[in-house]
Structures are given as C-alpha cells and as structure tokens.
C-alpha cells in the first residue's frame, strides 16, 4: 500500500506531475491518479489517492466487472477493454479516487505503476511510502513506542 503521512507533505505536487508523465506521457496534474488537496491558509497539504479497499465500492458497483482486485499486489485493477465508462465507480467511491481522464475519455485510478509507484520514488520527504500492508501499522506502533521512550527520557526521539 501507499502509506500517506500528510504532516510530511510540502505540497510541491511533484507526485501529481510524475504520475501524469508515467501514465500519459504528459505533464498534466489533472490526469494524475494522486491529488494533493491544499489548504493554503492552514498550511496543510493532504495527499489523496486510491486506498485499495478490501471491499471496494467501485468493484461492487461495476456492472461489467472491469474492476477487480489483484490478489498478489492487493491493488484494485481497472481493465479498460471491459470498461464502458458508465462512471458508477466514480459515484460509488467514498474517497474520490476514481477519476475521469477527459482527454483520453476513460476512467483512471492508481494501480501502483506496476509495483514501482513514481509518486513514491519522487517524494523527497517520504510523505508517501510504498510498504507491505502487513508492516504498515507496525511503523506507527514503533513511532508511538519511540514517543514513550522519549517521554521517560531514554531517547532524543530520533527514529
């Protein structure tokens, strides 16, 4: 999964650019699978992208079974040769992760760039990390553990 830490996001949106280049050959954030939502007067930048749900609403509603879960990568894949462009998936997804490429006139979603996501590769602050699902929460647990360590004065808190 792509683990998001919004506190590390600087809002540079390089992820959007490289995603669009990787998938379309053009720089165009509007065709990116990842989107940074920026609250400029709060100083907050929130990366949003497909969360690859275990029970994806998009898969459930797809009338032609163009969407399916890849058991290996855990990624929800879109088979464009089956897709009829009804956009039901876009309506059903609670996270806005299904987008419409208005230039190619087809649905788009994050599919992990075949296992090597460009957005993660270019994210200098590691606000985005490509991790194994089984280890993802352990990272957070360690982070909590480190805070305890710091609180009792055994560490400077460096992880």
């Amino acid at each position: 999964m792509i683990l998001v830490d919004y506190t590390k996001c600087t809002g540079c949106r390089l992820c959007e650019t490289v995603c669009s280049v990787m998938n379309t050959g053009a720089c165009n954030p509007e065709r990116s699978r990842i989107k940074i939502i920026r609250w400029e007067w709060e100083g907050l930048q929130i990366p949003t992208l497909c969360l690859q749900c275990d029970e994806p609403a998009c898969v459930t509603v797809c009338p032609v079974k163009a969407l399916s879960r890849n058991s290996g990568s855990g990624c929800v894949k879109l088979n464009l040769s089956l897709c009829i462009g009804c956009k039901l998936c876009m309506q059903a997804c609670p996270f806005g992760a299904m987008s419409y490429d208005f230039i190619k006139k087809e649905m788009i979603k994050c599919e992990f760039c075949d296992g090597d996501p460009a957005c993660v590769k270019f994210c200098e602050t590691q606000a985005l990390q490509f991790v194994d699902v089984s280890n993802a929460s352990l990272r957070k647990k360690r982070s909590l553990g480190a805070q305890v360590l710091m609180a009792i004065g055994k560490s400077e808190g460096a992880l």
């Binding site: 506190t7 600087t10 809002g11 540079c12 949106r13 390089l14 650019t17 490289v18 280049v21 990787m22 379309t24 050959g25 053009a26 720089c27 165009n28 954030p29 509007e30 065709r31 400029e40 007067w41 709060e42 100083g43 930048q45 208005f102 230039i103 460009a118 590769k121 270019f122 200098e124 602050t125």
Partner: protein
C-alpha cells in the same frame, strides 16, 4: 506539446484579445520566459512612454519548462517598463501560478492599454475573458483570490493579483499569488494599477506533452538526487534562505541603519533559532523537492493568529535592518507588505534612507507627519509606515514614489539627500554588504533592473574555490579572493548571462549554480530541454541566448531611460565609507573608484559594448539583435 503554449495579446483599451504561436525562430533566439518576455516588452512598449500610461505593457512570461517536471519549474516573470526605474521592469515568482498558466495553454500574456474600470482576466484552457472587478477593488491580496475562486466555483484556480498599493499606483507595488509568492521588484503591480487590472485568474487542464517521457522521468530523478545531495539543499529544506543569516550577520556582511554600520547590537532576536517558535512547517513551490518556504503562525499578542509563508533571507535583511530586534516585527511587516502588495526590499531601503535623513536633522516631524523616525522606534514604525505607503497617506505619500521620487521630493531640504537614499537606477539596495566584494558591487551597478542580487550575484565568490575550478567554470582567470577585482568582470558577466538562461527556462535560481557548483547548470539544461521539449541546444547556444536577452534589456534601458555608464554606478557610500566592523577580511572594506572603473571597462569589453556601455554594431549583428527595432532613437 510543451512548445505549443501561446502568446496572448490583450488590449484593455479596445477590449480585444488575439493569440499568436511561438515560432521556432523565437525559441532559438529567446528560448522562453524572461527571454521571450524581454522581446515582447521591447516590441510592445511604446518608446519613451509614461510607465503609468496606456502605452506601457504588462508582460507575464512563464518559462519554457515551467509546469514540467524539471526540478522546481515553477517560475513566471512579470515585466514592462518599470515605474521605479523607468527602464526594464522584471520580476520573477514561484508558487503555482506559472505552471497553471501553461496548463491553460499560454506561456506569455501581453497586456496593453488601460481599462476605464477595474477588471480582471480569466484565463482558462485557451480562452481569455476580461471580467468586471469592481467588487474586488479595495480587497487585499489575501482575500482577492478566494473571492474569484468562489465566484468561478473552482478551488484550484490560481490567482496573481495586486493589493491596495497597486491600486493606488505606489511605485513599488508588486504582484502576488498565494500566501508566499511575490513578483516583488520593479513595480509591476503599479503598472497593473494604472491599467485598472486587479488580478489574473488562471486554470488549465491541458497537456504539456513530453518529447521523451521515459527519459525525461529518469533524468528528472537523477537531477533531483543530485540537487538533494548538496549541503545547501539540505540546509534550505530546514531553514529556507534564512540559513545564511547567522553567518553573514556574525561576519559583518549585513548592513544596518542604512549602511552606516555592519553590526547590530541586538541581533539575537533575529536569528533562525529565534524563528523556531513561530515556525509550523515547510512548504514547496510547484515540483520543488527542496521546499524552502517556511510556514509560520503568530500565537499570541496583538497579531495572534497571523499565518503566513516565508519570509526570505532577503526580507530578514530588509525589514531587520533598521532597528527591529525581534521576529514578530519582521513577520508582521512581511504580512502587511504582502497584504498590501509592496516590495519589502525596495521599501525597506527607502525607509532606511528617510530614517537617516531624520537622524541627521535633514527632515523633521513636519515632513514626517509628526512621526518620530528614530531608529529605536523601528518595531512600531514598520506597520504604520507600510499602511501609510499603501494608502499614500502622511509620509507614505512620499515613500510611495520610490527612491527617485523621494530624492526629488526631499532634495529641497538638503543637497545630500541623494547620498543617503541608496539605489541603483532608482531601485533600492538590499540590506547586505556589497562594498567589500567588487563582484557584488559590479553586479548591482550593471544589473538591468537596478540594485538587485538575482540578476547576477556570484554567491560563489565567497566560497574561496580553487582557481583552477574557477578558470574551468568561467573560461578565464578569476581570483578566488572575494576582495579582489581580478577577473570579477568575467565572473559577473557569466552569472548574469547564466541567470538569464535560468529565467528563460523557468526553474528556481536557488537550484542552480547560484548556490553551489554542484547544482544544475548548462549540462543539465541541455539534457532536460532535449528530453522534455525535443529541442536540441548546445551549452554555448544557451549561453548566447542569455547574452542576447541581457543585451536586449540593456538596449531597452537606453531607449527608455537613457541609461549609460554614468548609471552603472554603486551608491557613493559604498566607495566613501569603509566598513567599520566584521572579520579581518571584511573590516575596512570599501569599493575603490579607480579599480571599479577599470573593472567596468573590462566588463563592457567582454560584452562587446563601447566605453559608455552601449552595444557595438558588430555585437548586435553577432547576437542577431540587429533584427530588433533600433534602440538609439532620435531625442
């Protein structure tokens, strides 16, 4: 294609809009951004026009690579005939406005004429509308973008706008976008005010198609890694450009009280460490991995709740140079200058000058409108004077006229006024020392936009690099001693032409050779121009473009303001008054007039300009500038 972006000519008097493609020849000659912008300014400004009249134009120019994945390709230029210098007006900003302009299908907007009533431009996917802005007139630069987003119902719209200062035609008014970015210098916001142009809103969904996407992506990653491996990128990621303040301050490289001294008694409140209590995070401009933008919030006191991004080292040295002793004063000053849309650098310089006139008894409270301009009052004066300037009230009415206007207005009190208002070609000087480094002095003296560091400053001159490294970089002997005059003409020329190329490309100067010889320069530019646009240039061809652009700006300055050798000067103070403090290498430093003149001769010769600093006919021919309209007009 990245090369399909267009030029739009917008006539506010006639309410007409037309578009032109950018020809391959124009790309070969001027590349993009500041270069094509200079060509457009040179050709569209009516010669010798009033900068505040309809004959002036406002030209907005994104770089050839702006909006692409070239590192930090966020930059956009605002230019025209400067109401500050009467010469070449040109200022550059980052953020997200420039890329969005490209996604909307445009690289350059040429705004001519003047509207009878307030308007704003709505630029979106190949279309441009001139819309009523009566309801925006009087709004500040923070409110204006949101009102436009609300009425056009799109939160992703990027807006560049002017504030109260621009509306009131304050000479140093700027263009701003978002919490942080300003095209700060040379008064382009003032030009917009004279045209009743409040804002430019842009939104685009168009592709910038890459010539070689796969190679471009791989190469971008390589260059990002190269940038992030440098110490300067790491330092900027944490402390922004302010990372150098502590060093320059303690070595004696900052001027205070209008350059009277290079030491501040109460400096501890202004360090980067003292800033920590306000800092909430770091943000990045479009596609920038360095993310040097501080985010800050003031948590208590009269200004509690104030949020902003920045400020820069340059603002720290500007607003922190006349007696302010704490960050809160700087942050409030920065906040207000941004809100009203005023160039902090130029404004601070002018205020410093006027405060020294008060210190010396040349002006009194009658002139200041009752204000006590003692240096001790800086903390209180900054917000008051910023508001007065934006509104042209009280002393602000004089400050609003910029360095040249202040000299004109106050010289009736003493013939020495000109000595104390430090400027080059009418643009105020920065708050840092440039009298101990001949290269810095030559840079501000010859800069085509007046006293400014971003035209040519060779920061590398302070690094004491081995002379063989310098020789390789600059193609001839350059002394590694920053106090030496030897080879510095060559060094300055190389940097000014190189920075012109960066400005044509549209990437951030701080991710180039400006700060480190290990940051990208010609080799990298040749490559990513090839991968992204498909255009093939040699390093020499790019350098020649820089030279062409710089020379054209020079021609504009002569045509419009008659600027020649006499104007390639530095403030007299830098010659007459040796530095009183600082490290042994710095203390006592000042510019030697004779050596400076010799250096100027060398500089002109390297450029192929005559003794007066005007391009020789063979230089114009070599640079194909003889195809431009003549710059020597009959007076």
């Amino acid at each position: 294609m990245t090369l399909k972006s267009k030029i739009a000519i917008i006539d506010l008097t006639k309410n007409e809009i037309r578009t032109e493609p950018i020809s391959e020849k124009m790309r070969r000659l001027y590349l993009g951004g500041r270069g094509i912008g200079a060509h457009l300014i040179y050709n569209h400004v009516e010669p010798r026009t009033d900068p505040l009249g309809p004959g002036n134009v406002l030209v907005i120019s994104a770089g050839i690579l702006t909006g692409t994945m070239a590192p930090a390709a966020s930059r956009v230029h605002f230019g025209g005939k400067s109401p500050v210098t009467n010469g070449f007006g040109s200022s550059n900003m980052g953020g997200y406005f420039g890329p969005e302009l490209k996604f909307a299908g445009f690289e350059h907007l040429v705004i001519k004429g003047a509207s009878p009533k307030p308007v704003y431009l709505w630029v979106h996917d190949g279309e441009i509308e001139i819309r009523d802005a009566s309801h925006l007139w009087g709004k500040d630069t923070f409110e204006t973008p949101q009102i436009i987003r609300d009425e056009l119902e799109d939160e992703e719209i990027k807006v560049a706008c002017i504030g109260l200062a621009g509306e009131n035609q304050v000479r140093l008014a700027n263009f701003r976008t978002g919490p942080k970015d300003s095209a700060g210098r040379t008064g382009t916001g003032c030009i917009a005010g004279s045209k009743k142009l409040k804002a430019i809103a842009v939104r685009g969904h168009q592709d910038l198609k890459l010539a070689h996407p796969k190679e471009a992506l791989q190469y971008a990653k390589k260059v990002v890694d190269q940038i992030m491996s440098t110490k300067v990128a790491k330092a900027m990621s944490v402390d922004g450009t302010s990372f150098i303040w502590n060093v320059t301050n303690t070595s004696g490289l900052l001027e205070f009280y209008n350059g009277q001294v290079n030491k501040l008694e109460n400096w501890r409140g202004l360090t980067i460490e003292a800033f920590e209590k306000y800092k909430t995070g770091m943000a990045g401009c479009f596609n920038c991995t360095v993310h040097c933008r501080h985010q800050f919030r003031i948590n208590d006191g009269a200004w509690a709740g104030t949020f902003g991004e920045g400020p820069e080292y340059n603002t720290q040295t500007a607003l922190g140079s006349f007696g302010a002793d704490n960050w809160e004063t700087l942050l409030v000053g920065w906040h207000l200058a941004n809100k009203y849309g005023i160039d902090t650098t130029g404004w601070s310089n002018d205020v410093r000058g006027v405060m020294e006139l008060y210190q010396r008894g040349i002006i009194d409270k009658e002139v200041t409108g009752g204000l006590d301009l003692s240096w001790d009052n800086a903390n209180q004066l900054i917000p008051i004077l910023l508001e007065q300037t934006a509104k042209k009230e009280g002393l602000g009415a004089i400050l609003a006229e910029g360095s040249l206007g202040i000299i004109r207005e106050l010289s009736k009190y003493s013939k020495d006024v000109e000595y104390y208002i430090l400027h080059v070609k009418g643009l105020g000087k920065l708050g840092n020392v440039d009298r101990v480094q001949p290269s810095f002095a030559l840079g501000i003296a010859t800069s085509t936009r007046g006293a400014d560091h971003l035209r040519s400053r060779p920061a590398l001159d302070h690094y004491h690099l081995p002379e063989d490294v310098l020789k390789k970089l600059y193609g001839g002997y350059v002394s590694s001693d920053f106090r030496s005059y030897e080879g510095k003409a060559r060094m300055v020329r190389w940097h000014e032409l190189t920075y012109a190329v960066v400005d044509c490309i549209g990437t951030c100067k701080f991710q180039t050779v400006f700060f480190s010889p290990n940051l990208p320069a010609y080799k990298e530019w040749v490559n990513y121009l090839k991968y992204i646009t498909g255009l093939e240039f040699t390093e020499e061809e790019l350098f020649n473009i820089g030279e062409r652009v710089y020379t054209l700006e020079r021609m504009f300055n002569y045509r419009e303001a008659g600027y020649t050798r006499k104007d390639d000067r530095i403030p007299e103070r830098c010659i007459r008054e040796p530095l009183k403090y600082g490290l042994p290498a710095i203390k006592g430093g000042h510019i030697d007039r004779k050596k400076f003149n010799k250096m100027l001769d060398e500089y002109y010769e390297l450029h192929g300009w005559d003794k007066e600093g005007l391009p020789l006919p063979e230089t114009l021919k070599r640079l194909e500038l003889d195809e431009e309209p003549p710059y020597k007009l009959e007076r």
